[in-house]
Amino acid sequence: MGVLGKIENLIPGPMIQRNRRILVTLFAILSAVFILSSYFFPYWKFTLIAPQYPQGLRVQVYLSKLKGDVSELDILNHYIGMKKMEEAAQFERKIALFGIIVLSLFSLFFLFSGRKGAIFFVLPSLAFPLIFIGDLFFWMYRFGHELDPNAPIKITPFTPKILGEGIVAQFKTYATFGLGFYLAILGFIFVFLAFVLRIGVCNACPVKEKCSVFCPNLPKWPGKPEEFERAGMKEKALILRQQKVN
């Protein structure tokens, strides 16, 4: 018995769609791992290039914190009356860890979900990166527009670019998504793949209403008709009953 066989033993239920069910389970677990680990990597990165910063000023935005040359950028920003970066997305950053745990648990819950509920465990991981972008844009907009009117340097309100090259005064900026963001996307892709693959598993499962990746145990043929009834296989139960009568 190979490794696959061993894994298969861990999965209760019949031998229907063996490889596919293993894949679905693996993908869902990977999805959870990707989503959870994304917390530990920056979602968004920002580099400001100016002559007096030969290495550039770099800020990494994590779900829950800011890292890099934050204080230096704050100093530069204060001249145009911009708020301190730490003031941005405070609520979002506070709930980030909780949210990410829930999101990764969703990828696992999906395995146990029924045919109809499954999509509700998949959609949040699609929505999440979009929400992140939306929220980032929101804060960028606010920071670029809610400038202190008494600042030493007055500039027209603007929204800093969230992707690619931008220019603020004489400074060039360059923004990209970070590894964390891509991990979150991967998390969605994997749970989505698992979702699609599972449709086949569900279709093959005799107990259609109860479809999860672990579709319920099938009774052995020929066995007691009650067992087949409990498994929702009424036709088979009927055949057995008829045989008994005969």
Binding site: D69, S71, E72, I75, Y79, P152
Partner: protein
């Protein structure tokens, strides 16, 4: 088969012919075409630079942003500072303020480093000093090699030693020798920086007492001090230090033994005649004559390992010295009896004593001699072990006969002073009177070459040239006189540092660098990558004296002014481009204590704090807490401002100290 061979031969021939044509055209092309270096050649011709000069220029030129391979720490002479120079570009990188107040660095203005300047154990006279004659820098060592952690330097004029932390290139401690007022051979470190060696120069009655010159022999004494260095604390601990009492000869330079000579220190001396000078109208000879009568003076051989044991056993007496500060001293008779101090003759009026990288040879330069005199540590050890002495001096110190300690006398020229080494077994000795660098081979004891330098070379430094593993490559001649080498700038001339390339068979003089700041003595050259200096202080709120976070660190938004009786405490921050608070109101006669935290994290974002009228200027580097203390005894309105050009709104980084007059 035969056919194929023939064909291949023909083809090969054609191939060679084509290749020849190709190479030929390349060479011709290079000669005739307008190459990228043609313009450079034109400039060289226009400036009448010969190929040698062009080569030299190329060796030292560093395009912008290219850093030096070596860093030289040079004494700043009477400036009381240390000069940091990049090698081979010879660019000045920094003056480290050591014994002299220095406004740019805020040294001597910040309340904390004012205390450093006053010294750990200095008597009231020396606590007030504002200058020094810095002589010999010594980089801290591990196993006889530079480790780049600390730098020590001696003040000849006042018998002081300073400790500089090479994490921030700032002076952390000054100690005063309680036994006398002058040293010369300081500072030199033992191979693991266990001790910093400081010998006295001009003997005085021990401990700064008074005694007439008629009692010179009886009461005047020299000393060789071993300052204990606590590397973890980064401080000299006077309580754990000791001195070996020496006869009132004038001790000169020292060097610590290493490897085979580990545990020993060697110090020169002159005036073994014990001349006491010529009072006006007296027939006595002047010092320069009286102290040059004997053909031989004494090389002091000090077994500091043994001395350490004797001190541990309680064999030292505690001397209450200048200013009431105590130091353990091993008395002369004990030092002689225990063979802690042993002499061997050396050519008269010697200057430098330098131990070879392997520790086997001790090279002495006699200022009035024509030789580098080389002693063997093996012979010295043998003589001490067998008790083979030719006699004793007046004070009972055993003397090893010259023939029993000397290995060779290398004829190198008149007036040899100091010797450094390279990685190929060569020694380079500065020869003062002849104004040359003499290159000679250790072991062969043979002179190879002399290179004229300009002029009156004093010390000489080589890349890691006084460690157990010299690097070769570069030698710097530290010339006392420049005469005609630079544009005249009045009667006081700069000194001349000359860079010499020693990587080839012949020494090549490469570059002249004027030193316009005191007369430097020794310098040491360390591989730049051994230094790991901070570019900003490790944490915001740093106390550079304690090298730890300061309890007075103030965070942004936590600035405050507190009054306790007649003292006003200001907890301030500095950031581009403002101080908080920037308006400070006190009353006439209040004592003002300010802690200013530079909360910046950017490299080079230093803020100054200049307060008009009160003689205050701080340099508050990124992360540092600056500390001022003064009595606001002049009523009025005093502007203060950031004295470092920190930002576009630098001029706006200002404030007012308002001193309200007392109500009558």
């Amino acid at each position: 088969m035969v056919k194929i061979k023939k064909v291949s031969k023909v083809l090969g021939g054609i191939g060679l012919f084509i290749a020849g044509l190709f190479i030929g055209s390349l060479i011709l092309g290079n000669i005739t075409a307008q190459g990228p270096y043609d313009r450079a050649l034109e400039i060289a011709k226009a400036r009448q630079l010969n190929p040698d000069a062009v080569e030299n220029a190329l060796k030292t030129y560093h395009p912008t942003g290219v850093l030096d391979e070596y860093i030289m720490f040079s004494s700043g002479g009477h400036s009381g500072q240390v000069i940091v120079i990049g090698i081979p570009s010879m660019r000045i990188l920094k003056y480290i303020a050591v014994f002299t107040p220095e406004p740019w660095q805020g040294y001597g203005f910040d309340a904390e480093n004012k205390k450093v300047l006053q010294g750990t154990n200095c008597d009231p006279l020396r606590a007030k000093l504002t200058w020094a004659d810095t002589h010999h820098p010594a980089i801290s060592e591990t196993n006889g090699d530079y480790d780049g952690q600390f730098l020590f330097i001696g003040d000849k004029a006042n018998a002081r030693i300073a400790v500089i932390d090479l994490r921030d290139f700032e002076t952390k401690q000054i100690v005063c020798n309680p036994l006398g007022y002058s040293n010369h051979g300081a500072a030199f470190v033992t191979p693991n920086s266990e001790y910093i060696i400081e010998p006295s120069q001009y003997a005085v009655p021990q401990g700064g007492a008074y005694a007439p010159l008629s009692e010179y022999e009886k009461k005047y004494r020299g000393f060789i001090t071993f300052w204990y260095f606590d590397r973890k604390a980064g401080r000299i601990i006077p309580e754990k230090s000791f001195a070996v009492e020496a006869p009132p000869y004038w001790q000169d330079l020292c060097d610590a033994g290493k490897l085979e000579s580990y545990g020993f220190a060697f110090c020169n001396s002159f005036n073994s005649e014990m001349a006491t000078g010529k009072p006006l109208g007296s027939p006595n000879p002047l010092f320069e004559v009286g102290a040059s009568q004997n053909d031989m003076d004494y090389l002091h051989i000090v077994n500091w390992k043994k001395a350490e044991e004797i001190v541990a056993k309680g064999g030292a007496k505690e001397v209450v010295g200048i200013g009431g500060f105590k130091i353990k001293v091993i008395p002369l008779d004990v030092a002689a009896k225990e063979r802690i101090l042993v002499f061997t003759p050396e050519p008269k009026s010697p200057h430098g004593v330098d131990v070879s990288p392997d520790g086997k040879w001790i090279v002495v330069g006699g200022k009035l001699d024509t030789h580098a005199t080389v002693y063997s540590i093996q012979k010295i050890k043998d003589a001490i072990e067998k008790g083979k002495f030719e006699g004793k001096d007046k004070f009972g110190v055993p003397i090893i006969a010259f023939k029993d300690s000397v290995e060779a006398q290398v004829p190198i020229g008149l007036g040899p002073l100091h010797t450094v080494f390279d990685n190929k077994g060569f020694a380079y000795t500065s020869v003062f009177i002849e104004s040359v660098v003499a290159k000679w081979k250790v072991g062969e004891w043979k002179l190879y070459e002399k290179l004229p330098v300009h002029y009156n070379i004093g010390h000489i430094a080589a890349a890691e040239g006084d460690t157990v593993s010299p690097d070769g490559k570069w030698v710097v001649a530290l010339n006392k006189w420049a005469i005609d080498r630079f544009s005249p700038v009045g009667p006081l001339h700069p000194q001349n540092f000359q860079l010499i390339d020693i990587s080839g068979d012949k020494m090549k003089l490469v570059y002249d660098m004027p030193i316009p700041l005191g007369e430097p003595h020794y310098a040491q050259i360390i591989k730049a990558d051994k230094l790991k200096p901070w570019t900003v202080y490790p944490e915001v709120g740093w106390d550079p004296i304690k090298q730890a976070k300061s309890p007075y660190a103030t965070a942004l938004g936590k600035e405050r002014i507190e009054r306790k009786g007649k003292t006003v405490y200001v907890y301030a921050t500095a950031i581009r481009s403002h101080f908080t608070p920037e308006i400070i109101e006190v009353e006439e006669g209040d004592k003002v204590v300010m802690y200013i935290t530079n909360v910046e994290r950017a490299r080079d974002a230093t803020h100054g704090f200049a307060l008009g009228g009160y003689n205050i200027n701080l340099s508050i580097e990124p992360g540092e807490v600056g500390f001022v203390e003064f009595v606001a005894d002049k009523p009025g309105v005093f502007p203060f401002y950031c004295s470092e050009f920190c930002s576009a709104l630098h001029l706006e980084m200002a404030g007012y100290l308002i001193v309200k007059p007392k109500k009558k």
